[in-house]
Symmetry: C2
Subunit: 175 residues, 2 copies
């Protein structure tokens, strides 16, 4: 007899190379690690909580070709973002469903590191799993890493899963 399931929050984002609906290499790595090394065959002992934080598109580059003629056009844009995020989450939820691991998934907007820590405080998972690109100190200065911030500030145990060398793209800043 087991008590309540272990709730593992997995922070996921989209690929910088392929965009939505593709998950980043490091998100997939964090997810697969959680399944293979932690959940294993004990699917009923765990519940996975997928959080995807969308960064507001500040420079609006992606909307360069859009034409805005009415308030509804902006609404459409917001909906499109939402739909992209949902497609990303669908990948993880489908995988869990196939394997039989209970899960939940949701989207928030904002600065990923801040939002992740805020959601940890709200949801209180037993463990937070965050993928990371495994950048060197020089690259980190320019990129800033979400995982380092979470390790320091999240109010629950955090584990960071680095990409393997084999999975790292030519430009390690890509993911």
């Amino acid at each position: 007899m087991e008590g309540e399931a272990t709730r593992v929050m997995v922070a996921v984002n989209e690929s910088t190379i392929k965009g939505y609906p593709h998950a980043s290499i490091s998100s997939k790595g964090a997810f697969e690690w959680t399944l293979n090394k932690i959940v294993r065959s004990n699917t009923s002992g765990f519940k996975l909580l997928f959080l995807h934080v969308q960064v507001p598109d500040e420079d609006g580059f992606e909307d360069m070709d859009s034409i805005f003629a009415s308030p509804d056009d902006f609404k459409g844009m917001k909906n499109r973002d939402k739909i992209r995020g949902l497609h990303l989450l669908e990948y993880f939820v489908n995988r869990c469903h196939e394997i039989g691991v209970p899960c939940e998934a949701w989207i928030k907007k904002g600065d990923p590191k801040e939002v992740i820590c805020h959601e940890v405080k709200r949801v209180q998972p037993d463990l937070l799993v965050v993928g990371c690109r495994g950048l060197g100190p020089f690259q980190r200065v320019f990129v800033g890493t979400v995982s380092e911030f979470c390790v320091k500030h999240a109010e629950c145990p955090v584990v960071t899963i680095k990409r393997s060398a084999a999975e790292t793209p030519q430009d390690p800043i890509d993911d």
Copy 2:
């Protein structure tokens, strides 16, 4: 069907208050967290690897009352240290045996943070669990924390388990 067991290394040390053979509050916390939240009922899916690093007694305070008259006296001292470390490990191995989780335990001498990272490199566990006292930034400057070093330098995923407020002794530097 499951593949090879997930190998979880747990770094353990003795209590600063009670000394040997008592485990520190944070070691026990890290161990219990691993059992309750990760291993759960899947005892055959995991193997726990307990590493205890003994810090060489540089100032020799503990041997103030000893009399050294022959080389054998020094040998006796070294044996005594070894036996203390073994008693500490016995606690963890016994608990695993009761629950039915496969385990291994061993002792190394040296600087805990360096030795833990070295042993991770050698043994290549899937996860390293380290307890920590959860000190504030001011206290950390003076104490130095093994867990922070391992998070940065260990070549495997690392999770740090903080003591709960309820378990924290009056002086938070104690453990």
